[in-house]
Each structure stands twice: as structure tokens, then as C-alpha cells.
């Protein structure tokens, strides 16, 4: 039962093959069994989950069910949930219980979703390996010595290990797609503005976007259907109709023009990954897609641009953690300044501090023009590259990451090599486009992903292509050999 996809669970619930309480219990048991090794969950809400499952079963009995009614899900611990701790992977918020639900959480609640728990993550979503969590690193279920990727590593590892059928994450520079690739699951970062950010603890406001993580594109479509939509509480959410994602999954891709950016196939790309990408291209060609080389000349600047803009916004967004109103407060501060200093020194981890420092620096008077303003200009160029490309092609395809997952601790001493993990994903956030990663093979028994990038609000198109791919391949069905390794 626990290996089923969301679509299968939804069908089973509707046909009363099993109840929501039964599947919820099954996942809770599995979480209890494996979580201590994988460290994917920060909070497991067994009691409330079962309550919600019982209520869902009632609705299922009386036929008031929606597609997600009774489906257990896990949320990255960055989404505020009323009455349940929202730590954001940080000591700073270890004691924080939000008095409100994030819009996404509220939508899922209304849809009848059962919240099983909150998943581990890099502190404040800053990281590419999930080693920056106050709650300790998440382990990759494919190899416990290896990182799951980050920052939504708890969510992707939980789905990979079948501790849950679906989870949500957030993606600021690749934080859904990169760990999805490294854990062998499907993850979608929607267009900026497609999913409300209200109640999602902010890292970099102009880049953050919540999205679904599941085994399949079909499941991601199901989840996105509930998550997407305009929210009056989020001024940056966009008021544009939400298409029927599931309904469009089976559109033919015959004649679909797919661009291959030559910049994504250059130096640094693992040759085995490149081979898998080529194989994926062949599969899609068989389905009628047409490929074309394109160029995104400014994407090489994505990482430096990102590491100006994201820290700038984070340095400001994280100012509210001052020990005054909520979160961690240092003991016995000497005075106000000491309260700030001690609270922030004691409760923020190194990577968060590093980014606050960078962000504060690039916004300082005298440096603002050279860094922040310049970065915004280049961001615009990167965006323009994509728009030019989308005049020639319908979607863009490439590897999600340059390498498979690496050993725990391998890159912690070298932040720049860590930052380069996101080299193919970051430009998508800078441009605000939707991007999806789907399993496409293995390198030394570790999964890797292929990334599909669509134009604004064309989530349906990339979900469609991914679904067609997954109908003719079975990479997404591969499961980590949990029994033996755990």
C-alpha cells in the first residue's frame, strides 16, 4: 500500500479498497520504522493525522470527497501550520508554533488532505545537501552515506523511501528539483506567482516558490491542482486561470519543439548523466518530439547573480528574528544590542550567517550599485535569454544537476562547490519560470534527473511531457532497497 502513487491511493480511497485511516497508519508505521535512520521528518503529527483521516473517511463514506480527500501528505517545515511547530530547520524557530495556516496548508486542509508530518530541510531553505539543518542532516535513502540534496531534502527523501506518497517543498534556486533528482523522485517548481507564498517562511522573496514532490508527474499534477491559484494575501501571486493539469497529461507531444541549451551540456557535466539525458531525448523523439539546440548565453552568470540577490533579500527577511517577539531568545542579555547579537549568534547556523553577511554587504551604501543593481540587470538578461528561446521552442530540456549525490560532508567546507550543484536550476528561478525534474537513470546506483523548463504558466505542458516520458520509462518506479540498507 505504501508504495502506491497518489493517483492510485486516490482511486483506492474512492473505491473503498482501503480507508484513509488505514493508509495513514501504514505511513505512520513506516515513518516510525525508518525515520531515525533517514531523519526526514522534524515533526510527525500522528494523533492529528489520524483524526483528520477519520474525518476524511466520513467524507469518503458520504461521497463528499475531493480527489485529495484522505490522502496523507507531508509539508516541508517551512510552511506555517496552525498549532504545529514550523521550525524552518532552524534553532531560531525550534519553539515556533504559527498561529495561522499558510495558504497552501489551508487549501490542502479544505481539500481533505491528512497532514502526517513536517519534513526536514536546510535551515531557512539555504543549502543544497540538507546538511544545514538544526535537526541534523537527512540521509539519502539510496545510500545512507550520501546527501539527499537540498533544501527540500526531507520531502524528497521521504517520498523516495515511500514514507509518504507526496510532499511539498519550496524552490528558491533548485531546492525542489535538485533533491528530487538526487533522490529519484519527481518535483515541480511552478512559475513564480502560481502558488501563494503566504505562510511560507521567506528566504528570498522574489525567487521562492512552493511546489509538489511525488513519485510521478501525474501525482505532481494532482497536488499542483490544489496548491495553485491567486491569493489576495500574496501581492506577487498572479491572477490567471488554473488549468486542469491532470486533464492535460495525455496531450500528444507529437511535433513538440524541445530546446537543448548548449550551455547545459558543457564542462562539469557528469558523462553518465549526459548519457541518460541523451537517452531521455531518444525516448521523447520516439513520442514525436523534435529537438533543437538553443543558446542561453547569460545563464553562466546565474550563480553569481543568485548569490547576490538571494542573500540580499534573505538578509532583510531574516531581520525579524531578533529574539523580541517569537523564536529563540538568548538568556540574560546585557542590553538590547546584546539581545540581538546573542540571539542571532546562538540560533542561526553558519550558512545562514554567511548569507546574511553577503546580503548585508551587497546592499550597503557604496556597494549597492555594483552588486545588487548590477545583479538585477543581469537577471533581466537571463530572463530575456529564455524568452528568446521560447520563440523557437515549446519547452527546454537538460540535466537537473551536473553530478549525482555526493557523500555527506564532501562539500561542507567549500561553499562555492556546493553552490555549483544548482548551476542548471538557478536560472529558472531568476527568470521566474516553471521547472520540473524527473528521474532519468542512475550513476553508481544513485538516481539522477532530467529537467524540463516551460514558459510562464506552462506547468501543464511540462507535466504533460514528463507524464508521457514516465509512461514509456520506469525510472520513477525504482525504489531504494530499504529492507537491506536500513
Amino acid at each position: 500500500m505504501v508504495t502506491k502513487t497518489l493517483a492510485e491511493l486516490s482511486l483506492g480511497l474512492k473505491q473503498k479498497t482501503f480507508s484513509s485511516v488505514e493508509i495513514t497508519k501504514a505511513y505512520l508505521e513506516r515513518i516510525q520504522k525508518f525515520n531515525s535512520k533517514l531523519n526526514t521528518f522534524i515533526t510527525v503529527c500522528a494523533e492529528t493525522a489520524l483524526e483528520e483521516a477519520r474525518l476524511a473517511d466520513k467524507h469518503l463514506q458520504t461521497g463528499q470527497a475531493e480527489p485529495l480527500t484522505g490522502i496523507p501528505l507531508a509539508y516541508k517545515d517551512i510552511f506555517c501550520t496552525q498549532g504545529i511547530k514550523t521550525s524552518c530547520g532552524s534553532k531560531m524557530l525550534d519553539n515556533f508554533i504559527a498561529p495561522y495556516d499558510a495558504t497552501v496548508a489551508e487549501k490542502f486542509k479544505t481539500a481533505g488532505v491528512v497532514l502526517v508530518g513536517k519534513t526536514n530541510m536546510d535551515e531557512f531553505a539555504m543549502g543544497s545537501s540538507n546538511e544545514n539543518s538544526y535537526y541534523g542532516p537527512v540521509k539519502n535513502p539510496w545510500d545512507l552515506n550520501v546527501v539527499p540534496g537540498g533544501s527540500s531534502g526531507g520531502s524528497t527523501a521521504a517520498v523516495a523511501a515511500r514514507l509518504i506518497a507526496g510532499a511539498i517543498g519550496t524552490d528558491t534556486g533548485g531546492s525542489i528539483r535538485q533533491p528530487a533528482a538526487l533522490c529519484g523522485v519527481t518535483g515541480l517548481k511552478p512559475t513564480y506567482g502560481r502558488v501563494s507564498r503566504y505562510g511560507m517562511v521567506a528566504f528570498a522573496s522574489s525567487l521562492d516558490q512552493g511546489g509538489p514532490i511525488a513519485q510521478t508527474a501525474e501525482d505532481c499534477a494532482l497536488l499542483l491542482q490544489s496548491m495553485a491559484g491567486f491569493d489576495t494575501k500574496d501581492s506577487t501571486s498572479v491572477n490567471t486561470p488554473v488549468p486542469n493539469y491532470s486533464g492535460l497529461l495525455n496531450t500528444s507531444i507529437k511535433g513538440l519543439k524541445i530546446g537543448l541549451p548548449k550551455e547545459f551540456f558543457g564542462e562539469g557535466l557528469n558523462p553518465t548523466i549526459e548519457g541518460h539525458v541523451q537517452n531521455a531525448i531518444k525516448e521523447l523523439e520516439k513520442l514525436g518530439a523534435v529537438f533543437k539546440e538553443i543558446t542561453l548565453p547569460n545563464t553562466g552568470l546565474s550563480i553569481p547573480v543568485y548569490y547576490v540577490i538571494a542573500p540580499a533579500e534573505c538578509s532583510s527577511n531574516l531581520s525579524r528574528y531578533d529574539g523580541v517577539r517569537f523564536g529563540y531568545r538568548a538568556k540574560d542579555p546585557k542590553n538590547l544590542e546584546d539581545l540581538y547579537k546573542q540571539s542571532r549568534t546562538e540560533a542561526f547556523g553558519d550558512e545562514v550567517k554567511r548569507r546574511i553577511l553577503i546580503g548585508t554587504y551587497v546592499l550597503s551604501s557604496g556597494y549597492y550599485d555594483a552588486y545588487y543593481l548590477q545583479a538585477q540587470k543581469v537577471r533581466k538578461l537571463i530572463s530575456n535569454d529564455y524568452q528568446k528561446a521560447f520563440k523557437e521552442v515549446d519547452i527546454i530540456l537538460g540535466p537537473t544537476t551536473p553530478t549525482p549525490a555526493f557523500n555527506l560532508g564532501a562539500k561542507t567546507a567549500d561553499p562555492v562547490s556546493m553552490y555549483l550543484c544548482d548551476i542548471y536550476t538557478v536560472s529558472v528561478n531568476l527568470a521566474g519560470l516553471p521547472g520540473l525534474s524527473m528521474p532519468a537513470g542512475f550513476v553508481n546506483n544513485l538516481p539522477i534527473g532530467v529537467q524540463l523548463i516551460g514558459n510562464y504558466f506552462e506547468e501543464a505542458r511540462i507535466l504533460n511531457v514528463a507524464h508521457q516520458f514516465q509512461k514509456v520509462t520506469d525510472w520513477h518506479k525504482k525504489m531504494p532497497p530499504l529492507g537491506n540498507t536500513l
Binding site: 506555517c80 514550523t86 524552518c88 503566504y198 528570498a204 500574496d234 506577487t236 538578509s315 532583510s316 550597503s364
Partner: protein
């Protein structure tokens, strides 16, 4: 004064005007003054993790209203920026303000100075921003209390060019702006409650010099009187420094009303690099021309338009018209009085500006708190105008109006204060007076003209002030 004349004072003002919206600039929390601490602060005002701001459109309309009233440019696109600094009453660690692209720019405000000349002050910009909360340092046993009711309340900051040349001009500008925002009904302008706060940038330079001197910024002076005193103190201080060969330091100073002096703020408090950048949580504010036109239609008669109309329609002097239109409430009071009096507007103007404002001033009341409503004052003036009572009796009735709720006619009736206009009655009184004062009569008739006043006084006294003075004059002349 002689030392000052060598120096020219240059002042620019930054005024924070609290907007009269029902809810805050970026949240739905209420904005009422004086609520229990922290009862009007929602999670958005508290800067909780995950919250997002949503702009209050009413505040935008109010900003447009002000912009139109000062003939300014309304930016088709303005941008909210974050001003970053740490302070306990600033929950997010940044204030959402406008920096590079304010909503209103390049306006001006004109007003008359005491000598009657018209002064025009250019307004650099006016931008929307949220207020911070309040730190309370008393009654917390070594801790500070924080009240976030004020956090997020919409302000519009109006920044003038350094066009003002004296403390008096600064006050005149402030009064004009104060009256304007109340006319526009975008602020209650209540200075005690902090709805209208002023920072003054003050510098001096040798007369004739075109370059600006080094300025000091005087923070938060919250009454017209203190603005004048603070600026005068600061000007003296700077002149003293310069005349003794010392430089003026650019700094922020606080005015202490008790000591009547300005003092530098601790340097720490101002050594901030605010790291402004556009707020990524908010879209640029795009204002379409049709919105501006819709707002334009809601503009009331503006103070200078009203002043011109008062001159025209009521035949008032420039000065009278300016005084009577200094606030919308006073202007309304005057117009109601004129209507109720059904008589020459100048008479109403004299009574409102003289007796009424004098009495209000003495009692420390403003026009809205006047114990005499405009209709009742008009009723009194009507009886002066139709000669039912004399001007002198009118003063007595004015006092009675002040202390009761009755109207003038009732008081006149009850106390029998009608003017005596019956010629035979007046003649009878005069005859008695002439008979009782034979020596004065003889003196007058032998050429002591000055004694005429004596007779008038005696007659008025005998009639308890009710005899019509004109008739008294006329009959006395005949009889003597």
C-alpha cells in the same frame, strides 16, 4: 537681531502625516487611537514568519488627493522599498517605505505671510510608508514595553525643498499643510496624538551666499509653537558656532521643550546604513490616469480657493478671508453664521474673528468645541443687524449664549433687553437728565462741546444701555 541679519536661515521640513484610513497600510488591523496596547496589531503587523503585506488602496487614493492639491506629479509607477534597521518596535527589522520612486513628486504649497506677501514653497516629494510601533520605557521594572498598535499605520511623508527662511515661515508652511490635509480629510492632523509630526532641517549661511550651510536635523517637534522655538534656538546655536569660528556638524538633534534647547541624538542612533532596496513582496504601484481623474472629482474646495471665494462672495478683506478659511471647520462655522444672521457678512466676520475666537482662545477650545453653535451666534448677529439690540447689549447676550443653551431671542425676551427705539420714551429720559444737570447744560451751551459725551452716557445709563444710540444722539442735539 543685528547679528542675525548677517546670516540667512535656510529651513526644509519633513512632515509625517498620518492617514485616516480604517485599516493599516499593509494589513487589515484597525487604526483607532488610544486602544489597549497590542490589541490592534495582527500577525502581519507583528512581522510573523511567512506573512506578506498587501497594500491598502485607500492610502493610495489619499496620497493622490494630496498630490493633486499641491499641484504635484502623481507617479504612474512608484515603488515600495525596505528601510532596514533593528529596533524592538520595528517588528520586521525593516520599515516599508518609498525611496527612489515616491508616489508624489514636484509639488508646491503657497501661503500668505504676516506682511501679506505670498510665499511659495516647493515640495520635493511625498511618499507612503508604514509607521513603527511605540517603545514604552516606564513601568516595566527595567524592561521596555512595546506597543505595536501604531506599527503599520499609513503615513505620508511630505518633504519640502529648503525654501523656508525663518521659523515664522516654517510655522506658516506647517499650518497651511496642516489645514490642507484636514480639508482633504486624509488626516485628522491631531498633533498631540502624533498624526502630524515634523522634522526640521535647519542651516544658516552668510546672506548672499548661494551654497547651503551644514544642516542639523531636528527630530519630532510636535507643536507649532515648539517648531518655532526649536528652529530659533537652533539658528542661534549655529550662528554662535560660526561666529566663534567653529563648524556646524551635520547631525540629528532632539528638541527638549522643557529646557527649550536642541541636543544631539546619540550617534549610534543615526549611524545607520538603511540598505534600501525594492520590497520584493510588493508589486510597483501603477496608477492609471482614470484613477487620478476619479480622485480629482472627490477633491473638496481647497483652502486657497475658499479664501478667494470668501473675498469675492462675502466682500471680506484678504486677511479676514485667510483667517476664516484657515480651517475647514472655521470656514463652515462662519458660513453657517452668515446664513443664520441674514445680514452683512462683515458683521459676522467681526464677531467670529473677534469675540468668538477670543473667547475660544481664552478657554483653550477649538472651533469644533465652541459652546456657541454657529446658528446661535447668527441669531445674535441678526438682532444686532435689525437693531433689536445695541452692540453693547450684544456683548452681554454673547456671554449668556456662551453659558447657556438658549438662543439669543429667548435671552432678549427673558431679560427684556430689546433696544428702546420709541422716540417719546427716549425724549422722556433725556428731559429728566437735562433737568437733573443744570450746570452741565449751561457749560455745554456756553461752548464746552466735549460735554456731549457726558449726556449720552447719562442717557444710556438711565436706559440700562437699551436706548438706541443714534436716536439718543439725534434727540440730545435737538434738546440741548
Amino acid at each position: 537681531m543685528t547679528t542675525q541679519s548677517k546670516w540667512e536661515t535656510v529651513i526644509g521640513l519633513e512632515v509625517h502625516v498620518q492617514l485616516l484610513t480604517k485599516s493599516k497600510l499593509f494589513s487589515g488591523a484597525a487604526t483607532n487611537y488610544g486602544a489597549e496596547p497590542n490589541t490592534q496589531a495582527c500577525i502581519i503587523d507583528l512581522g510573523f514568519p511567512g506573512i506578506l503585506p498587501v497594500l491598502n488602496e485607500e492610502a493610495v487614493r489619499m496620497a493622490i488627493k494630496l498630490g493633486l492639491a499641491i499641484n504635484a506629479e502623481i507617479a504612474p509607477k512608484s515603488v515600495f522599498a525596505r528601510k532596514n534597521y533593528f529596533y524592538p518596535d520595528l517588528p520586521k527589522g525593516y520599515q516599508i517605505s518609498q525611496y527612489e520612486l515616491p508616489i508624489v513628486a514636484k509639488g508646491s504649497l503657497s501661503f500668505s505671510l504676516e506682511d501679506g506677501t505670498l510665499k511659495k514653497v516647493n515640495i520635493t516629494r511625498a511618499h507612503l510608508e508604514e509607521d513603527a510601533g511605540k517603545s514604552l520605557h516606564e513601568d516595566f521594572h527595567g524592561y521596555s514595553g512595546i506597543d505595536l498598535n501604531r506599527a503599520g499605520i499609513p503615513l505620508i511623508e511630505v518633504v519640502s525643498e529648503p525654501d523656508l527662511r525663518s521659523a515664522k515661515e516654517a510655522v506658516a508652511y506647517l499650518k497651511t499643510l496642516h489645514s490642507l490635509v484636514r480639508y482633504l480629510e486624509i488626516s485628522d492632523g491631531n498633533m498631540q496624538e502624533g498624526s502630524f509630526r515634523c522634522d526640521a532641517n535647519v542651516s544658516v549661511r552668510p546672506r548672499g551666499e548661494t551654497k547651503l550651510g551644514t544642516r542639523a536635523e531636528i527630530k519630532n517637534v510636535n507643536s507649532f509653537r515648539f517648531v518655532e522655538k526649536a528652529i530659533n534656538f537652533e539658528v542661534e546655536r549655529q550662528i554662535d558656532l560660526l561666529e566663534s569660528g567653529k563648524p556646524v556638524i551635520q547631525e540629528t538633534r532632539l528638541y527638549n521643550a522643557d529646557k527649550d534647547e536642541t541636543r544631539p541624538m546619540r550617534s549610534k542612533e543615526e549611524a545607520n546604513d538603511y540598505r534600501y532596496f525594492p520590497d520584493p513582496d510588493l508589486l510597483p504601484v501603477v496608477i492609471q490616469p482614470d484613477l487620478i481623474e476619479r480622485v480629482r472629482k472627490t477633491l473638496p474646495e481647497l483652502p486657497h480657493e475658499k479664501t478667494a471665494r470668501f473675498e469675492e462672495a462675502y466682500g471680506l478683506s484678504k486677511y479676514d478671508a485667510a483667517v476664516l478659511t484657515s480651517s475647514r471647520e472655521l470656514a463652515n462655522y462662519f458660513e453657517t453664521t452668515v446664513k443664520a444672521s441674514n445680514s452683512e457678512p462683515k458683521l459676522s466676520a467681526n464677531w467670529v474673528m473677534g469675540d468668538l475666537l477670543g473667547a475660544l482662545n481664552k478657554a483653550n477650545l477649538d472651533i469644533t468645541q465652541s459652546p456657541i453653535q454657529a446658528e446661535r451666534l447668527g441669531g445674535l448677529i441678526k438682532r444686532i443687524s435689525d437693531k433689536t439690540i445695541s452692540g453693547k447689549i450684544a456683548k452681554t447676550i454673547f456671554d449668556a449664549l456662551w453659558n447657556s443653551k438658549e438662543d439669543a431671542d429667548t435671552i432678549i425676551q427673558k431679560q427684556g433687553l430689546q433696544q428702546v427705539t420709541d422716540t417719546s420714551a427716549i425724549e422722556a429720559i433725556i428731559d429728566t437728565i437735562i433737568a437733573e444737570n443744570p450746570s452741565q447744560v449751561a457749560d455745554y451751551r456756553s461752548g464746552k462741546d466735549k460735554l456731549f459725551g457726558f449726556f449720552v452716557g447719562q442717557v444710556m445709563k438711565a436706559s440700562q444701555g437699551k436706548a438706541n444710540p443714534e436716536q439718543v444722539n439725534e434727540i440730545l442735539k435737538k434738546k440741548l
